[in-house]
Symmetry: C2
Subunit: 749 residues, 2 copies
Amino acid sequence: MDSMWKKILVGVAVGAAVLTVGILLGHYGIEKGGTEHAPTWLKALAQDVDEEVLDIFLKELDPKRMEDNLRELSLKPHMATSAGDQRLVQLMLQRWRDAETGLDEAWTQTYSVFLSFPNKTNPNSVAVVSAQGSVQFKSHVQEKVYTEDQKDPDIVTPFAAFAPAGNPKGKLVYANQGTLKDYEFLNSSGVDLHGAIAITRYGGSSRADKALNGAVFGVAGVLVYTDPFDINDGKTSDTNETYPHSWYLPPSGVERGSYKNSFGDLLTPYYPSKEHTYRRPESEVEWMAPVPTQPIGFEDAQKLICELQGAVAPDAWQGALQCEYRLGPGFRATGSFNGSDVQVNVYNRRGIHDSDNVMGLIRGSVEPDRYVIYGNHRDSWVHGALDPSSGTAVMLEISRVMGSLVKQGRWRPRRSVLFGSWGAEEFGLIGSTEFTEEHYSQLRDRAVAYINVDISVFASATLRAMGSPSAQSVVFTAAKQVPAPGTLSLSVYDNWKLFTNRTSPTHGVVPSMGYLSGVGSDYASFMHYLGITSMDIAYTYDKTKTRARIYPAYHTAYDTFDYVKKYIDPGFMSHQAVARTAGGVLLRLADSLILPLNASDYAESLESYLDTALKNFTDNLNAHQISLAGLQGAVLRFRAAATQLEKEIREIDPDKESPLKVRRINDQLMLLERAFLDPLAFPDKYYLWHVLWAPVSSSVRSFPGLAEAVEKAQRTQREEDWRWAHRQLTSVTTAIERAVNVLENALHP
Amino acid sequence: MDSMWKKILVGVAVGAAVLTVGILLGHYGIEKGGTEHAPTWLKALAQDVDEEVLDIFLKELDPKRMEDNLRELSLKPHMATSAGDQRLVQLMLQRWRDAETGLDEAWTQTYSVFLSFPNKTNPNSVAVVSAQGSVQFKSHVQEKVYTEDQKDPDIVTPFAAFAPAGNPKGKLVYANQGTLKDYEFLNSSGVDLHGAIAITRYGGSSRADKALNGAVFGVAGVLVYTDPFDINDGKTSDTNETYPHSWYLPPSGVERGSYKNSFGDLLTPYYPSKEHTYRRPESEVEWMAPVPTQPIGFEDAQKLICELQGAVAPDAWQGALQCEYRLGPGFRATGSFNGSDVQVNVYNRRGIHDSDNVMGLIRGSVEPDRYVIYGNHRDSWVHGALDPSSGTAVMLEISRVMGSLVKQGRWRPRRSVLFGSWGAEEFGLIGSTEFTEEHYSQLRDRAVAYINVDISVFASATLRAMGSPSAQSVVFTAAKQVPAPGTLSLSVYDNWKLFTNRTSPTHGVVPSMGYLSGVGSDYASFMHYLGITSMDIAYTYDKTKTRARIYPAYHTAYDTFDYVKKYIDPGFMSHQAVARTAGGVLLRLADSLILPLNASDYAESLESYLDTALKNFTDNLNAHQISLAGLQGAVLRFRAAATQLEKEIREIDPDKESPLKVRRINDQLMLLERAFLDPLAFPDKYYLWHVLWAPVSSSVRSFPGLAEAVEKAQRTQREEDWRWAHRQLTSVTTAIERAVNVLENALHP
């Protein structure tokens, strides 16, 4: 070979190799950040949940810290707007502003809201007064002291919030649970209710209804007590049976509560209660207890009920007080109260008070304008160790671990995470409702989901979750990842399935996640008014082991740290399980590339509602020329659209697809729930805009507006009531069709 | 130099050069498509309006083609649901499905809606009937034929749609414009209205109000005519003055119209009129003309009015008929109608009919889930050359040019462009309203803006535009780019400014763009019910040159191609100017990287409303302990948030920023308008959810709910009316605060 050729060849070979190296260097070796072809944000856009970060997060959720949180949170009574509440406002701010474990931002939002408190210098009571005017008996003004914490001077004396002041006096009658049926029974049994004082027991109806229903029959005052049958599995003695010997309610324990049937600030429905806000006159407020009403302990109730004369109450009305319950009116002639009346002395005062929400934010890295919201109220009735501080203890631990990861630069959520410590929940979900009113547009446009953890641990047996069907899958995923406390190797999910389950046509046997068809905690305005996919998560008891309506110290002075530590969750492992489950849901919602919301699970719920409607209503509706075919068609189309969207999600390649396609799909998943809002569906109710989960009187588990309307029309057989049923059918059908539109990309029908 | 060193150095130099070439090749030369670093969509994400494409688009909009469109569209009468309407449904579909100039998709949407038609075999009429029962005069059953097109057997005989059938007979009275004040004046003047037939002229009140107001005073039937003073600048003779000699209305011309005060299908408010939809009974429908009502020509009106007896009508009531107008009741004794009554014979029939919308779509390339909507109704009363076919002619030309660019692969909009050819607008915006009801959620989430071009050319003097303040800047931008017909070198914008202008605190002298505080065309449900930024664009006349309320052939049989070609826009250059202006707005909204919607212009409007409110209402409100401070604060915060958002927009570098940031800003701009919706602001009206533009009775140009409420309270001085004013103030303040939230990135207040 000629040397020149050789040189040339070698030169070309070397050159080619060098060129190749250059090409490779140029293509892969130079940092792409800042060049026009590969901006720095590119990789972040396609980032999914980092399971390693999630593991770290779950591991760091510390039961000991939650115990410490709870001790501090429940140190003092912290009823809404009290000094104790203000102390906790500062505590939340301090935690969320901590330099090492805090969030990006924390702030308060203050609303001036309509509340009701007893008179400190003139506490409410109930008296038996003889015909001559002498007081023969007076109820306890406060609960019996067993432990140091109950000596706190800030413990509010028992009262029925929003019940009017007054001193009505009359013959006592026993009205069972104070339902309309109960009063009707008394009335039809010849018991004169006019001017009477009705004693009722908790359960079976809302607090306010016990008074509202009684007032229909002319009842002048109402007493409410907790029957040991309903709460204590019959136990009544504080010498060895009730707290401090067990979790059961002592005889003097009194459940406080809000005696009104609507949530949010009563004077400013739909508008945030700010300085400029119009306040309607109290006379226009609906659904508050209309007559003086007072809750008492079962010790006092027994003194009254066991002296009643009159017919023996029906079996179902009997409770666990140690006597045969009679209806009244008035006391038996052979007893010491013969001829006496009962007087209810209520000195409550209504007024406007400033209540704070405390908010904390971690800004999202990729989609700061998408919010995953986690909330819990802060106000209690007394020490509120379980209600709500068990939830706040969990929230503070979740926010601490997340905050630490952020402060250390180890993690930042894709979407913004917003924490809310709501004020004045006990008076009717006021803080959260005012927040949703003020931020309606922003939340309507940007909120991905709302996770509510109020009382985090009712008891330590099993998870209990309620929520929108589209949230079921992420709750299941999170619950599968958490070991269940008190089991050898079960996950929270598997343990939950042991306690309560159902057979899903798609998934087989799964835990029963309930619907949010109530307004029992701060999820209400998020779900019903804003159509934000919501969840409510807690640990609870084994219903086969107790008849207790709820944990027995609920809303009493015995809901203390000591009570929780001794009888509810001594090792705080259930707190940890809730923190891990709810925290896992939160992190997945915040970080998943494609939102873990499931439209097919929504389809399954709609199909179940539809089946029930077809079975229960078809004949009656057809007889009035109303067809369910439109509804059937809508549900079918919903299923098809959900299937199609999920196919699209499966086929997506985040590295290749435009981030706007991912965003579009996420918007569809986020906004699906909004499509079910119809402000006109329930024109007589406030905030109940969600046509699928509105709480109604019907017990048929189907489309609520339709079910309630058909039941009414069946009862009355009035043409206008059938028309209303048809209108309800149109409302829900239209909403489902709109939801189909949200799931679909096309405008094409 | 040693030759080895030389070789090495040369080798290194060559190698370095080759390496450099390689690096450059690798970095820039290799197509990035499909690699992990630079996906194909990257460039498209940052693409802004292509001004070259826009130029081509504007140039191709062809006046000759619009003329051809109009000839074809107005060939036959095409009243809603008629054969002529169906012919145009097919025409639209055929155009939008054309292989070379069509859109991506076209389809129809059918709604079964409540309409009203005259009886073909028994046309309506008005008669003068003597006391003996002989008919002394009968009104024309149809308009006089001057040209071939008016011989069409499908021309609907004049009628007042939705007025009930009936044959009331009574003394004639002249009630001017039929306002409540007019009837009150007659009543207080001692004119007995009970059982009377009122003749009223068009203008001053809605059509239905002329009958609704009369019915309040017991009027039994209503006639409506067009006074030549109001429409013809006094001209009355068809021998040389009116059409076919000019654009003026011939003596027998009759304005048809819908006689009801609410839009959308009357039987299904808020729900799309589909098969399954609940229809309320007719008896529940509000605001339809309650007594038989018939429109007549001024030739017939003159015969009646000039025979009236009674007091001379006030000066302002006099018109251009050749006599002195008197009030009645009844005819003068010296005339041939002495002692006679007038009988209104109405045989209208109401019923449910299928009406189609035709929809056409161009899918967006980057953001297919964002819709820019352009619409125009299709149905007319008769040939409807101007109303609405002049608009349809423009829409078809815009869609043709866009469709061609798409089919040729030269262009595809960033966002989806949706065209709507609405049905049954003349009966109350029914097609567009049903569309917004059906697609409420999708449009709420995804619609960027709605452009309405109904009658595109009223006359050829100047542009006239109304719209949301945030649309002002894009309308201005588009109008600056179009030469004004009939001028030497003025733009449409400059020409417009000559005719109507105002001084903006920010921009100086600008054309006056009106607000959409009416419900006169299909923008109503988009703007008022859905809160979609909307515009209404047309060419119109020089108001200094004519008193005509509207073009004189409006809603008559003379609104024909011949009329347009001869007297409105002979060269179709005004059609072209509208097509270019509205088309430019459409293309900019579809293609701009950052939506050309302007929050600061919105701030200016709010500030102007606020100034007026402060001037007009402060004293009266303060006297009732109502402060405007909250509203003032909200408007201040709105201005600050708008300024801040615009700063952010100015600073954005689309090549460097994440496309999700661009999307976030666009969502803020898109959703701003939605924040002003409050379904509770006007509880007695349908669809009027927008708290800023709702049409109300007040003439004060301020926040409409507040203005109306304060005026009422000032009148009545009732405490409850002042409370309502306060509630209205809260509604608008809350809406503005929510709008601030939409403009802000933070949840932080």
